[in-house]
């Protein structure tokens, strides 16, 4: 019998693996058996199962057709159907494109959809500015609604200068 891994040498070693109750047997030559470690046959990789499970999780909420068709990540080209199938994003931008689909599974896995830990220093500053701008925007809208144009102009300038700082 030839080795099932390299198909070249004679098989001299018999390896049995039991992964999730499924038994697989391999006949290997001494070289391939030497390379494959006997410890790792006890550590199956569960990633493949996770992919499909997570995908089905994401697909659970009803998605309207127009959204379904439109959602393609411009950075890596991952479509919504591909994302649902694997549950894995093709790039970091996918998280922004498919964010809505993720809230349910994330709540199930982590019990939360909002990060509270460390933030990169550079981005931390940017987020603070963004939050400030959003608050000023709300004040601006209120000032316009009350026809307080003097205040509105002041707020507009403040927003403008904050934006400029960040460019």
């Amino acid at each position: 019998m030839k080795c099932q891994k390299c198909n070249k040498n004679d098989a001299t070693t018999h390896i049995t693996e039991v992964i999730n109750g499924i038994k697989t047997e391999m006949y290997l030559c001494s070289i391939c058996a030497g390379e494959s470690s006997d410890i790792f046959s006890f550590a199956p990789n569960i990633d493949h199962e996770f992919d499909s499970l997570f995908g089905s999780f994401c697909s659970a909420p009803a998605i309207s057709k127009p959204l379904y068709e439109k959602s393609i990540c411009k950075m890596c080209g991952t479509s919504i159907s591909q994302f649902l199938k694997t549950g894995k994003p093709g790039c970091s931008n996918c998280y922004t494109v498919f964010e809505d689909l993720l809230s349910r599974p994330l709540k199930q896995i982590h019990g939360s959809t909002r990060h509270t830990g460390k933030t990169p220093t550079k981005l931390g500053e940017m987020f603070k500015t963004e939050d400030k701008i959003a608050a000023l925007r709300a004040q601006l809208d209120a000032a316009v609604a009350q026809q307080n144009f003097e205040e509105a102009a002041r707020l507009r300038d403040e927003i403008k200068s904050l934006r400029g700082e960040h460019k």
């Binding site: 030497g34 410890i39 790792f40 549950g87 970091s92």
Partner: protein, 337 residues
């Protein structure tokens, strides 16, 4: 090479009678490079070159120049994940002098920063990992989302991207059948328990790896505090149970553990699986003061140096039979020394 790699690992740390080692892993990705199958060889090279540039003091180990046994040996010493050891990609790792810090490049995530320490010492690991993280962050653009935190290839790592884990040796709790209920309870509290060497594996040699599951919506400090607190509790439980078992069945337990010592010091052929279980007994016997001629560090060194890929690589062996013979020879002599 891996003889040196295992050095930090064989050292005795805080609560070293029960805790073999602590580890912190941070998953990071670069914003302009795609994940997984979208990643080209060029992308891989970019990741490697950017990180090497940012951390010139760390040593780069190129995986394209390594044999499968060499890579698996790194995995046995916990420097890389088993998945990375099997990967055919042109990746590599950056390591510090004593290999207690290691950055895996182009694995599931572009960058995985790991810091390890002997015994229970999660704070030290976190401090070291943060140091490397800050340097890399300053010199690159991480993929980060305001709500979702650090963006990772797998949504289970989103948020902090932090996996903190502690490797524990729990023979008394295992023997008295308490582990099942402990594992169930820990799982309810958001911690995962795995066997020796990663996901899905059995608890070989009564060694369990306990880690946080949740990474989003909880801060780094909270993750470490919770894990540390529960691990401390398990340490006490194991010590108590061990004492009780010994008091109740002194001779029976001594007989069982000394038989294992007898096999390890006299057998002519030792398989890795048999060795892991026997070494667990000897570890327990040293902790109980039954064996006083060797210490835990000697035992750990003998164990790590005779793991399958490490022994294959160090002695240029080709078959399992050769490994079993060499393993017995090394263990016989180091345990009798």
């Amino acid at each position: 090479m891996s003889k040196d790699f295992s050095m930090w690992y064989t050292k005795f740390g805080p609560s070293g009678d029960i805790v073999l080692s602590s580890r912190v892993r941070l998953a990071r990705n670069l914003s302009d490079i795609p994940f997984g199958k979208h990643m080209t060889d060029e992308h891989q090279k970019t990741i490697v070159s950017r990180c090497r540039e940012a951390l010139p003091n760390m040593k780069f180990i190129d995986f394209s120049e390594m044999s499968s046994a060499q890579k698996q040996s790194l995995s046995e010493c916990h420097l890389i994940s088993p998945t990375m050891a099997e990967s055919k990609k042109n990746s590599g790792i950056l390591v510090n002098d004593d290999c207690s810090s290691c950055i895996m490049l182009g694995e599931e995530d572009h960058i995985r920063i790991q810091a390890m320490a002997p015994g229970l010492n999660l704070d030290l690991c976190m401090k070291e990992a943060n140091k490397l993280d800050d340097i890399l962050e300053a010199k690159s653009n991480y993929a980060f989302h305001k709500n979702l935190g650090y963006l990772t290839q797998c949504p289970t790592n989103l948020g902090t991207g932090l996996r903190a884990s502690v490797m524990m040796h729990l023979p008394a709790l295992t023997q008295s059948g308490r582990m099942e209920s402990i594992i169930r309870s820990l799982s309810k509290l958001g911690l995962a328990v795995r066997g020796f060497y990663g996901e899905g594996s059995q608890a070989l040699g009564n060694i369990y790896q306990i880690s946080n599951q949740v990474t989003l919506g909880i801060s780094e400090e909270e993750i470490l505090e919770k894990l540390g607190f529960l691990v401390t509790d398990i340490i006490e439980k194991e010590r108590d149970q061990s004492r009780r078992l010994y008091e109740e069945n002194k001779i029976v337990l001594e007989d069982k553990l000394m038989r294992s010592f007898g096999i390890l010091t006299n057998a002519k052929l030792l398989s890795s699986l048999e060795t892991i279980n026997l070494i667990s007994d000897v570890r327990w016997a040293i902790n109980l003061g039954i064996i006083t001629t060797i210490n835990l560090e000697t035992l750990s060194a003998a164990f790590y140096n005779t793991l399958p890929a490490t022994i294959t690589k160090n002695y240029n062996l080709t078959s399992a039979a050769e490994r079993d013979l060499k393993r017995a020879e090394i263990i016989n002599s180091s345990l009798l020394a």
